[in-house]
Amino acid sequence: MAIFICLLCLIGMVVVWFRGSAQVAPADPAARDDVLVRLLRWAVSLLSAQREEWGQAMLGELGHIDGRVRRWRFAAGCVSAALLLPPWGRAAAAVWAMVAVAVGSVGLYAFVGVRYGLQAWDWVFAAVALVLLVSYTLGASVLLRSPRVALPGLLGGLLAALIWLAPGYTFYDVITSVTPQWVGLVQVIVVPLLVGVAGALWGGSAMAGRRIAQLAAFSAALFVFLYGTLAVVAIGARGPGDPGCTGSCNIGDRLGNNTTFYLWCLPLWTAALGWAAAAYTARVRSRPATSAVPVSFTAAGGVIAGTRDPMTVPEMTRPEATGRAVRVRNGRRTARRVLLWAVVTIIVVLIFAAWLWAPSR
C-alpha cells in the first residue's frame, strides 16, 4: 500500500512538473515562451557549436507558426532533428561505449535470471532496470554531445563510480561488503556536491553544472551497475545471504540490491544534489558580475552568449527584460526544479524503505 501511495505521489510530482513547465505569461502571444519553445530550446542547446545557427533557425521558425497541432508537430520534428543532427565527433565513441555497457548489463542480467530461475518479483526489478538503463543511455548520449559537458561529466562519473565501489573493489567485496557510514556520507553527499560545484565552475553556468552532474550520474550508474551485475555472475549463489535465503533467492536479492542502489539511489542522489550545488555555485559566482552585464535575447527567448557572432545569428534586445528580472525568474525556476528533484529523491527512498520493510519479504 505504501508503495502505491509513493508511486502516486511520484506521478503527481511529474504532473506538477509538466504543468509548471507549461505555465506561460506572455504579454504578446507572438512572443510566447511556452513548453514547446522551452523543449526546443533545450534540444537546440545540445547542438554542437557549429550547428547553433540551425538551432536558432528552428526556434525562429517555431515563433511564426500558429495553431497548437502544427506547432507541436513542427517542434517535435525539430527536437528529434536537433538531438540526432551530426556532427557527433568524439561523442560517438562515448555513446557507443555507453550502449555497450547497457547492453552488457542487460545480457548478464538475463543470463543470470534464466540460469537461476528468478521469481516473479525479481523480474519486476529486471523490467525496472531495463527501463532505467535505456533512459540513462539515452540521456547520456544526448548530454555527451553538449559542449563542455562530456569530459567533466565523464570524470565526475568516474569519481562517483570509484567512491560507490570503494567499500571493496573485488567481486566478492561488491557482493558482501558493508558500507561504513562515513563512506556512505561521502557517496551520497560529498561526491554529488563536489561534482555539482566543479561542474558549475568548469562549465561556467548552472545549466552546464546541472548537465555535468546528470552525465556523471548516468555514466556512474551504468558502469557501477555493470560491475555489480558482473560480480553477481562471478560469485553466483555463493557467499553470505539473508537468513533462509539461498540459491535463486540470493541471486534475486543481489540483483535487486544492484538495481536499487546503483540505478536508483546513485544517479538520483548525484544528479539532484549535484544540480543543487551547481545552481548555488553559479548564483554565488554571478552575484558580483551581473549588474554590469547587458542581457540580450533571441526573440525565441534564448540568451545569446557573448561569444556568438551577431552577424551570423540575429539577436534583439528586450528592453523590459533586465538582468535582475531574468535572474529572479531563472532563480525561481531552478529552485522549483531542485525542490521537485529533492522530493522525487525522497519519495524513491521511501519506496525503497517500504519495500525493505514490507511484511511479505
Binding site: 504578446d28 507572438a30 512572443a31 550547428r51 545557427e53 540551425w54 536558432q56 533557425a57 528552428m58 526556434l59 525562429g60 521558425e61 515563433g63 511564426h64 507558426i65 508537430r73 513542427f74 517542434a75 517535435a76 520534428g77 525539430c78 527536437v79 528529434s80 532533428a81 540526432l84 543532427l85 533571441t298 526573440a299 525565441a300 545569428v313 540575429p314 534583439m316
Partner: protein
C-alpha cells in the same frame, strides 16, 4: 571525413522545389509544407545541402515581437546541380537514347 553519399529522394525533392523559383527566399516551414516533409526530416536535409554549398541561408529581420526567421535558396552551384539532375522517371530512357551513362547523383554530389 565527410562522406559523399548520393542525395536521397527527399533531398532531390527539396532541391527541385527550391529550383522552381531559385531567386526566391523560402521559409523552412513553408518549404516543409510544400515538399510534404516533417521538420525532423527537412532540417537535416537543409543542413547537408548548406554544408555542400548548394544552399545559401539568410536571416529575415525580426518583425515586431516575432523572432528573426531563417531563409533559404539555392546557390549558383545548387542551381547547376539541379540542372544536371535527370528529369524524374526519364533518366533511364534518356540514358538509353543517348547510348551513354548519365552522371550519377553520387558523382554530382561529390563534385558539388
Amino acid at each position: 571525413m565527410q562522406r559523399n553519399r548520393p542525395p536521397s529522394a527527399q533531398a532531390v525533392n527539396v532541391l527541385r522545389t527550391l529550383a522552381a523559383d531559385p531567386a526566391r527566399w523560402r521559409y523552412g516551414y513553408d518549404l516543409a509544407t510544400e515538399v510534404h516533409l516533417k521538420s525532423g526530416s527537412l532540417y537535416p536535409i537543409l543542413v547537408r545541402l548548406a554544408d555542400r554549398g548548394l544552399l545559401e541561408t539568410s536571416w529575415e529581420p525580426a518583425q515586431g515581437s516575432r523572432p528573426p526567421r531563417h531563409l533559404y535558396r539555392l546557390t549558383l552551384a545548387g542551381r547547376e546541380y539541379v540542372a544536371a539532375l535527370p528529369a524524374p522517371d526519364a533518366r533511364a530512357a534518356r540514358a538509353s537514347r543517348a547510348g551513354r551513362a548519365v552522371p550519377s547523383p553520387r558523382t554530382l554530389w561529390s563534385e558539388a
